[in-house]
Symmetry: C2
Subunit: 257 residues, 2 copies
């Protein structure tokens, strides 16, 4: 189905090389990122906020559908509400800034059209299989229909085809679409948190929040958008990190097969 | 409920500061990371594979439950199968190495116990609220019961409490647990992909795969583990990147409220 664009040699006449090599800087960056629970009262320049948000947008994501949204909560009223919706956690109370990161299961419709427009305007010639991917495969893959009826049909049809040969079977339900959108959005969240650390600031990802109240505050459409996580940002206080990092034995997580 | 550990000033006597500041290196790293579709035949030293996997494990994650697993597919037989399960995509066919990243919804049981053990053995005194968080709150939050019956009850009880005050209502279903585990796992995936780029290698995240066949190949328990994404790794070929990066207008994604 989506075989042509993915497995055949494309006809693009494009080359992009990279000599980037700096394992030390990245190792140090990752080692220095800790979830910060208490911030100092130092503010963050607006310019740095925007630069870090822009770096988040460069994360890889599913079919380039960029299913994320970043709500930078600046109004005092919303900020106070958000603090209470996060159960007054220290990391939120003391944060210089708060960003609510939202995963959307509906914006692929708009974004697949934007992708086709981008293909038309760019200088590089795009093969037909790529435009077909966005005009036909993406709507087929992501549209689950009202109450998921289309997903149900796909589930049955794909299961039958998959008896014979390997087949991409997901997303085939509204739950799968939630998983799908949160996955790409989380990739961007990690970029964002590392970006702030690179600029000397700290963050903490927050899932312990009242999903419904935050969603209403941001006027997010029910069933099409959910909070992936909120992220607090600021300058680490003296007592900002609660203890040494704990990671269990890596053999529990890394397996060679 | 989980208020004490999160919103009260803890009694830890611990301080960890960081002077790390290197926005240029991270900006360059993120800008140079592109999803690579064709790799050269250069191999990757085992040492670098392991270093990058270790950096993945340092990602932030929900309640430190580290719900991820990284299957480095080294056997020729499994690698061939995986290539076919990924529909023979170029990025898989030509990759020097393949890693299947798995999100688990069940390992929090083991890991919450490991967390309590870690508290006992570390030098820093841990307040009672933290041990209670892992002995009581975590099981209450993540256990959904057989076929989700416990989740249903929690959903009702928490909804009633939430009429009065903000309340953490999720995860309250098996679907929520899938979202939860994939989210943390994706944070680690982004670390992993950036780590390889920092070491001079490229990656491509792959969701277009036969979830069931891959799960069976890895002997993953049904309903408790799913493939978050596969990641191909290698040295970028001349024609590895198919075109210039496309990102839609940032005003679609970044909103100040």
């Amino acid at each position: 189905m989506s075989k042509s664009i993915l497995s055949e040699s494309p006809e693009f006449n494009y080359s992009e090389q990279s000599n980037y090599y700096n394992p030390e800087a990245f190792t140090e960056l990752v080692s220095n990122r800790r979830s910060c629970r208490v911030y100092s009262d130092e503010q963050i320049p607006e310019e740095i906020m925007l630069k870090c948000l822009d770096l988040a947008l460069l994360a890889p994501n599913s079919s380039n559908m960029q299913p994320w949204e970043f709500y930078w909560v600046r109004s005092e009223d919303k900020r106070n509400k958000l603090t209470s919706y996060c159960l007054n956690q220290n990391t939120v109370k003391t944060a210089a800034e708060m960003i609510v990161v939202v995963a959307r299961t509906d914006t692929w419709k708009r974004n697949s059209k934007l992708m086709l427009e981008a293909f038309e305007t760019q200088e590089i010639k795009v093969p037909k299989s790529a435009t077909q991917y966005y005009s036909k495969i993406v709507p087929l893959a992501y549209n689950q229909g009202f109450l998921g009826w289309l997903g149900m049909i796909k589930r049955i049809v794909f299961s039958i085809i998959a008896l014979r040969k390997p087949m991409v079977r997901q997303p085939k339900s509204t739950a799968d679409m939630r998983v799908w959108s949160n996955k790409s959005t989380a990739l961007a969240c990690e970029n964002l948190m590392l970006a702030f650390r690179a600029y000397g600031y700290d963050t903490c990802p927050i899932e312990g929040l009242d999903q419904r109240r935050v969603r209403r505050m941001l006027n997010l459409p029910y069933g099409k958008a959910e909070v992936c996580m909120a992220i607090s940002v600021g300058r680490r206080a003296e007592n900002g990190i609660y203890g040494p990092r704990i990671r269990f034995d890596s053999s529990l997580f890394i397996k060679e097969v």
